[in-house]
């Protein structure tokens, strides 16, 4: 475990905990953005430049804005003074148990003992060519799905206007 990895991992986990435990919804969203940025840092650590920067572009740049708008448009961001009704301990113990089971299973499995194949030299160019040739059908299906979702959102927004 190197020092940069430790810093990034600590930041990611810490901000993820903050995103779950803070009482103000906008603070939670901002901590979640920090988690996204930390994940991008981890991708960069793994030499996956393209994935890392795409993660920043999509999650920090766009998804975060979506989350923040959803919070602002749907509920009051004022934290309520009443104490939280759910104690976190049950959840924490379940989470730790699940993580331990999974970690032990992964460590015990033969996957980790296999020799890693030499990492192929993946350039953005080959990525693009693969997307346009071998994986063009999934790409098109995804594009269609997103277009349909966008049209749906527009139609929902239009109906609301007519109802007024």
């Amino acid at each position: 475990m190197t020092l940069p990895f430790a810093i990034i991992a600590g930041l990611t986990v810490g901000s993820a905990i903050a995103a779950m435990s803070l009482r103000n919804m906008v603070h939670c969203a901002l901590s979640l953005v920090l988690t996204f940025a930390g994940l991008a840092g981890l991708y960069l650590q793994l030499n996956a430049e393209f994935v890392g920067f795409t993660q920043i572009l999509v999650y920090v740049g766009a998804v975060s804005i979506l989350i923040v708008f959803a919070i602002l448009l749907t509920r009051s961001t004022e934290p309520k003074d009443e104490p939280s009704t759910v104690t976190p301990w049950a959840g924490i113990s379940v989470a730790v148990g699940a993580f331990l089971t999974m970690a032990l299973a992964v460590l015990a499995s033969p996957v980790g003992k296999r020799l890693a194949a030499p990492a192929p030299e993946v350039s953005v160019k080959t990525l693009g060519q693969k997307l346009m040739t071998d994986y063009v059908l999934p790409l098109e299906v995804m594009a269609l799905l997103l277009t349909a979702a966008m049209l749906g959102a527009v139609i929902i927004a239009m109906r609301e206007k007519e109802g007024k």
Partner: protein, 410 residues
């Protein structure tokens, strides 16, 4: 003679190598990458904030001239009679913003309010790390993802704007932040799509590679800047428009429209925090101009490949082009009125977006027809494919002359 100019061209690089050579004997092994990084960062932190400081004075003087007044011309070197045409103004402004009281509203979210200017300035400074300022002068060369890095880091400023507007607990701040986010999200699409034409033609995301792709010489003297093609010319204009909107410059300065919402998302900032917002905004504009220069105006290349022009150091060309673009933006600010919100959105989605998409097709055709078709036909077809949609799309934005209908004032 040529040797001397070559040395001058590479002077910053040689200086860094010389300093690193001396440092490697003295410093421990682990400190060397840090020193190297610091040596690359220092010129950026020295040159561009200084340029910002000078721009504030030049902008006020230029706007003054456009508005038929004189502009700042009093402050020179302190304690002397030297006035320097008012160019000491930025020092006075800096001292003023440093010693002003930092007022934070009582209802504000203190932590987020404090973090917002920092979260805005850092991504803006990061974008400079991939720009090639001169031959062999790029602080962080990303051969695979240079342009993607620029846009990824640039996109994270939107959240900082939201942080500033939301945490101030002021309706004008929040309105300004909402306007800014809507505008930045909308104009990011034409911005990226217009840059994509260059990526298609150069076949690389590396900004150094894009500059090198423009280094071919045509007709024996002209560098083949991407500007000198139909798709590049139109792409540059589209890019410049979208960049002005991304940097919140007039005519797209709705997020901080003084006459409507005080100062937009940084209404509740005073003293040095306000200065940081101001700095980040201008540095963002400079970075956008730098990217435009790299993509379309040949980066650090001279326009023509003839002796006296090639002698001028590459970084001088970059800074000269940058200054020219800044003057253009000051000129635009002085002469164009502000758009309305609906005009702003309509312009992005109904005009810029279709035009950038058509421009992509034109760039692809230009690429396919290379060598096979006569140059005149290529130019004619390219310009026709761009001019006709321009005319058709632009018709919807012309002001119709007729009897004005007032909705509320009657």
């Amino acid at each position: 003679m040529a040797e001397f100019f070559k040395a001058l061209d590479q002077f910053p690089v040689t200086l860094k190598h010389w300093l690193m050579g001396h440092a490697s004997g003295v410093l421990p092994e682990w400190a060397l990458p840090l020193v190297s990084a610091a040596l690359s960062i220092t010129p950026i932190l020295a040159v561009f904030p200084l340029m910002f400081a000078l721009t504030t004075v030049i902008e006020r003087k230029g706007l003054g001239r456009i508005q038929n007044r004189i502009g700042p011309n009093r402050v020179g070197i302190p304690l002397t009679d030297i006035r320097l045409w008012g160019f000491g103004q930025f020092i006075a402004d800096g001292i003023k913003s440093l010693i002003k009281e930092d007022v934070v509203p009582r209802a504000a979210d203190k932590v987020v309010h404090f973090l917002a200017p920092i979260a805005l300035l850092i991504p803006v400074l990061l974008t400079y790390s991939v720009l090639p300022f001169g031959r062999n002068m790029v602080p962080l060369d990303l051969p695979q993802t240079g342009l993607l890095f620029f846009f990824a880091v640039g996109a994270s400023t939107e959240l900082s704007v939201f942080m500033a507007g939301w945490s101030s607990r002021n309706k004008y701040s929040l309105l300004g932040a909402m306007r800014a986010i809507a505008q930045m999200v909308s104009y990011e699409i034409p911005l990226i799509l217009s840059s994509l034409t260059v990526v298609m033609m150069a076949g690389t995301l590396s900004l150094t590679g894009i500059v090198e792709s423009q280094a071919d010489v045509r007709f024996g003297f002209l560098h083949s800047w991407h500007l000198f093609t139909p798709w590049g010319f139109v792409g540059f204009l589209l890019f410049l428009t979208a960049a002005a909107a991304e940097a919140n410059r007039t005519p797209f300065d709705l997020p901080e429209a003084e006459s409507e919402i005080i100062a937009g998302y940084f209404t509740e900032y005073s003293g040095f925090k306000f200065a940081i917002f101001f700095l980040a905004e201008y540095l963002g504009l400079f970075a956008m101009c730098g990217l435009g220069i790299t993509l379309f105006l040949g980066g650090w290349l001279s326009p023509v490949n003839i002796a006296p022009f090639t002698w001028i150091p590459s970084w001088c060309w970059f800074l000269g082009k940058l200054s020219a673009l800044i003057v253009l933006f000051i000129w635009l600010r002085g002469t164009l009125p502000r758009l309305r919100t609906d005009q702003l959105m309509g312009f992005a989605w109904k005009f810029l977006l279709p035009m950038t998409l058509i421009n992509l097709v034109v760039a692809a055709l230009w690429h396919m027809s290379g060598g096979a078709v006569h140059v005149v036909i290529r130019w004619g077809v390219g310009f026709a494919m761009l001019a006709i949609p321009y005319w058709l799309l632009g018709r919807g934005f012309e002001a119709s002359v007729g009897k004005r209908i007032y909705r509320y004032a009657n």
